[in-house]
Symmetry: C2
Subunit: 331 residues, 2 copies
């Protein structure tokens, strides 16, 4: 049931210092960040397909530049690979950890269901490949404006079914961040519903598990999350671009509304400043209530996906080290 | 390093709806709660020992009444027991789970180091006894104004050392909430420092691990946490009553500043509205970074210790069921 505005409380304003309890790298980065401009972000609403394309291309250009730097730094190789018509990228570390030699990580990027097509979406896939020393296959799924729901989910399903020809399901991890993390949870709902084989483990990085504006942190972390800033603006617009007039509580759109019984072991990460803190902890609690092994990390001072962006921070090192430990335990 | 006010951001004001993502019991209870009055709570500062005694006695009277109701509902027996001069209460469930027959849970109550002396502090000890079906020994440690730091910690240490005469350390869990949770973490720092035996498992319910005003949630959840409301007022005053002029970053006062290497497996619980959300997740991350098994639950819509107060909520049921599973695994 989505939130209503009734019986709510007025909170704040308050002053938020830089997070002295976070790592120096993260705290210093936050000290250099101008205060999030909530009013401006709320107004950032593309009014046409052309405006969407312009906004997306600007962001993707920045991310592509970051990805190229990261690929060099981490000495990774990236190969494009078509799987049943879906474009994917195989990201290979310089050497494979022998304990992962039979494993594959299938990655689904984030970006509010509109950003990070092509190489722009490879940043975290590269970090995972480098830190876990396992091969990563990143799915370049179709997105709106041209391809709304369920095109992206269909692409993930097609790649998954194809991989089962050559891989045992339990040796494959499925993971993603934000919208990509929502997609992987939706895909597992769909696989379980159809009685198909499911992955051996999941990585749900700050999942967009609820596309309705339900969750404390959509409110308490508005203007606190330096990356997403607000649900209003791009996110609210992207919801409608992706889902059209569909019911947002469809578990294939907002996976929090599904039944998590039978899910594979799942590793979840978020932060105290994350606009998706509630999305993440609600997903974790639902998994645990359904009897699923689910392990949660919440980082002090971390905004949405910030642990992946500050790649040299203690938070990033711990997050991917813990992900690796989790995968070694469950694959 | 405590927070500074430099380079901070102004955030809010915002409107916070009741948490539709929480259980009905909790969400309904919050809908009936008046908006937290931050200004009033900030002013609630006892000015003398007599004012402290009056405030404490008012709160304790309420809690004693709740405890009596709970003892009846849960059919528990409570026996007072002196251990080397320290008053304790043995809380026994109607029957002991056979899997716990060699186990003991040693409990340390919360209350900002000033509240909940005597039977007033037995609420959560009773829930734990009832839900895990194991015996609980609750320590009625000395508190300020009469007995500041380190009297309470000394009492916990005395009881612990006494119990080792009759129990194997690894069969005993040590746990508590809030200030009590801070005390048990401080006690383990002290035990490890002295090379003494440590408990088999810990329960750290929303620990007061940092008595300095460091942590995002001291700011972001001011006026959001319906129980603590604000660090200013009672909490800030209690800090000085407890610690006097001592350095608050002493790990025996603020255990977050200690080294967590060698800690026993630890189960931690907090919520999205908890003023101590940051205290809890920072402790969890430090435990994990030190290689300790540590499991974190964060409940949507839950203020400080609210999962224990709404005893019939889905959150309370899940919290103590998960605590039981954790203890069965690690004791």
């Amino acid at each position: 049931m989505p939130e209503t505005e009734e019986n709510g409380w007025e909170i704040g304003p308050t002053h938020l210092p830089a997070p002295a309890g976070a790592s120096d790298v993260l705290a210093d980065s936050i000290r250099k960040t101008p205060p999030p401009d909530v009013a401006a972000m709320r107004q950032l609403i593309p009014r046409s397909e052309a405006e969407w394309v312009t906004l997306v291309e600007e962001r993707n250009e920045l991310n592509r530049a970051n990805v190229r730097v990261l690929a060099d730094q981490l000495a990774l190789t990236v190969e494009e690979e078509r799987i049943s018509g879906v474009r994917t990228y195989r990201v290979s570390p310089p050497e494979i950890d022998r304990r992962h030699q039979d494993h594959l990580f299938v990655y689904v990027h984030g970006g509010a269901y509109v950003l990070n097509a092509g190489e722009a979406g490879l940043g975290e896939a590269m970090l995972i490949a480098a830190r876990t020393k396992m091969p990563v296959l990143s799915i370049d799924y179709r997105m709106p404006p041209q391809h709304p729901f369920p095109a992206g989910l269909d692409d993930v399903m097609v790649v998954w079914e194809h991989l089962l020809v050559t891989h045992s399901a339990t040796s494959v991890a499925l993971g993603g961040v934000s919208a990509g993390s929502g997609l992987i949870l939706a895909a597992v709902h769909k696989l379980i519903g159809a009685g198909h084989q499911i992955p051996g483990a999941l990585y749900a990085g700050t999942p967009w598990s609820d596309l309705t504006r339900t969750g404390d942190s959509y409110y308490t972390n508005e203007g606190v999350d330096r990356l997403l800033v607000s649900y209003d603006g791009i996110l609210a617009s992207a919801v409608r671009l992706y889902a059209g007039a569909r019911d947002l509580t469809d578990p294939l759109i907002s996976p929090i509304y599904g039944d998590f019984t039978g899910f594979p072991p799942t590793f979840l990460v978020t932060g105290t400043r994350d606009l998706f803190l509630s999305n993440t902890v609600r997903t974790h609690a639902k998994l645990r209530a359904a009897g699923v092994t689910a392990d949660l990390l919440v980082f002090e001072g971390v905004s949405h996906g910030d642990y992946a962006l500050e790649a040299t921070s203690a938070e990033a090192l711990l997050a991917y080290a813990e992900l690796d430990t989790f995968l070694l335990q469950h694959l």
